[in-house]
Symmetry: C2
Subunit: 315 residues, 2 copies
Amino acid sequence: MTLDVALGAGAEFEAVREIVTRTGGVARGVGDDAAVLRLARGDRLVVSVDAAIEGVHFRRDWLTPREIGWRAAAAALSDLAAMGATPVGALLALVLPAEWRSDVGELAEGFGEALRFAGAALVGGNTARGERLSLTTTVLGQAYAPVGRWGARPGDGVYVTGRLGGPAAALASLREGTPVPAEQRARFARPLPRLAEGRWLAAAGATAMIDVSDGLAADLGHVAAASGMRIVLELERIPALDGIFPALAAASGEEYELAVTSSLALDVDAFLERFGVLLTRVGHVEAAHHGDAGLETRSGGRRVAPPAGHDHLTR
Amino acid sequence: MTLDVALGAGAEFEAVREIVTRTGGVARGVGDDAAVLRLARGDRLVVSVDAAIEGVHFRRDWLTPREIGWRAAAAALSDLAAMGATPVGALLALVLPAEWRSDVGELAEGFGEALRFAGAALVGGNTARGERLSLTTTVLGQAYAPVGRWGARPGDGVYVTGRLGGPAAALASLREGTPVPAEQRARFARPLPRLAEGRWLAAAGATAMIDVSDGLAADLGHVAAASGMRIVLELERIPALDGIFPALAAASGEEYELAVTSSLALDVDAFLERFGVLLTRVGHVEAAHHGDAGLETRSGGRRVAPPAGHDHLTR
C-alpha cells in the first residue's frame, strides 16, 4: 500500500500504523508503490472517488470521528451499489490537521468498519497534513454487467429502496440545535450503502440505477436526462420516515438509498423479506417529446414544482 | 464519471465542464455513478493514490497552474511506472479555493497532458470548495506480472534511470530566490513518469523496482527493508545533473526516476538508445546478517553516512 506520508517527522509513521491497524485487518498489499488486485474473470472494473471535507460535507460537532470515517467510506461505496457492483478495494487519501491527530485511530476504525461491511480491503492511501480534515475515498468494484443511469425506457416502473427524509430532518435539527430522533440520526450518521440490494436489483432487471445523494427528485432528474426520458414521480408514494413530509423526503440528500427503473415489475415483498428494507414503486418512465426529457413531479395526479435538491451544507 | 461537485451554485457545473473539456478529450464514462473499465485478460489491476496540496507539496509562486496539474498526475503515474504497469485511467479529486477558480482550466490542461503522455483516460472525479488547493489523483493500471519492492536478491545489480539532483537543486534556488537553471527547473516542474522505461525494466528481469520520490538513498532503503537485504550504494556512481554533488543527488526527492534491482546485467546501452535516458549501475545487493537489512552508502570504497531523505517542503 502506498501510504505515503507528509505529516512531518515522528508523527507520520505512527499515523500510518494506526490507520493500517485500526481499519482492522482489511489492509492488503501494504508497503509497495501501488496495490495489486485481481478481478473475477470477465468482470469489468467499476471505480469512483468521493471526498468528505470538514465544513463542506460534515461538521465536527455533529459527528464522532468514527461516524466521519464510516460515512466517508459508505458514501463512496454507495456509488458501487448504484452500479450493481461488488466492492473489491478502497484507497484513502487523508488530510489530517494537527487538532485531529489524536482522532486518527477512530477515523480509521469507522472507515474500516464500513469496508468490512462491504467486503472491501484497504489497498492504498496517502496522508498529508493540512488545515481542514478531509477524507478522499476511491472505491474499486467489479461487475459483469454494470448498471448505468442511461437505460430507462418508456413504461418502466420507478422504485426506491428504504424510507427517505432522515438525513434532511437530522440536518435541520442539528442546525437549529434541537434534539435529533434516533432513527433520523442513524440515517444521517451511519448510512448503509445498499450493496447487496444493488446487486439484487441489477439481477432482477434494473434498466437504470442511481444512489440518492442529491435527493430523490434531483437524482431521478439525472436518470431522466441521461436516458433521454421523462420520469414521473408521485409525491404521495414516496416512502418517508415517520413524521416527514414527502416533499422533504424527495429533497433529502446523502440518503444512499437506491433509485431504480425496471421494465419488469419488481417483487417488493421478496425484496423486503430478503433485506428487511422497503422497495417502493414511486413513479414511471415516459417517452420524452420535443426535448422535454427530465423529471415531472405529481401530487394528487397534478403536476407540482419539483422539490429543491440537496446542496451539502450550503443551503 | 462521477464529477460530483460541492462548489456552490453556478460555478459548479462550469468548473466540471472546464475540467472535462480541458483535460483534452481523454475523459471517458462521464455522467454515471462510477466509471466502468475493462482490463486486458489475465492482467492484474494496479492502483495507487497520491495527493498534491498547496503549501505542503508545492507553492503557488513556484509553479504555473499547468505545471501543478501535470505534476499531480505525473507523481501518481510514477507509482504505476514503478510496478511496470500500463496506465489505464485516473480519477481526480479537486479541492478548489475561490482564488484558484479562474485557474481550473489550466490545472485541467496540465493534468490532461500528463494523462495523454501516459495513455490514461480521466475516468472520474470529485470537486469541492476548500481553503487550500489540492489535487488527489488515483491511478489505475494493468500488468500481467507487477514488480514489487520486495524481490531484491544477493548479487543483484542496482540501477537508476536518468540524472538526479534537479528537483533538490531547483527547490534550493527557489527558496533562496536565486535563478533556477532551465534543466533543473524542467526536472522539478515537469517530471516525466518513466512508464515505458518501467515496462522495459520489468521485462528485462527487474527483481524489485521503486520510483525515486523520497530520494535515491531513502528509496533504496525501502527496497532493502522490504526485501530483507543489504543494499550497497556507491555515491561516486550516482548520475547527477551537471554541477550537482552526489550526496545532494542521492537525497533529492520527487525525481520520479526509477531505481531497480536485477539479477541479470541490464543492457544500459540499449536502454539509452531506446529511451534517450541514462541507465546507470549504482550499487549491488548483499545478503543481510544479524538483522542489518538496509542501505549502506559508500564513497571511495568506504562506508559513509547516508544522505538525508527528502521531506517535501518541511526541510
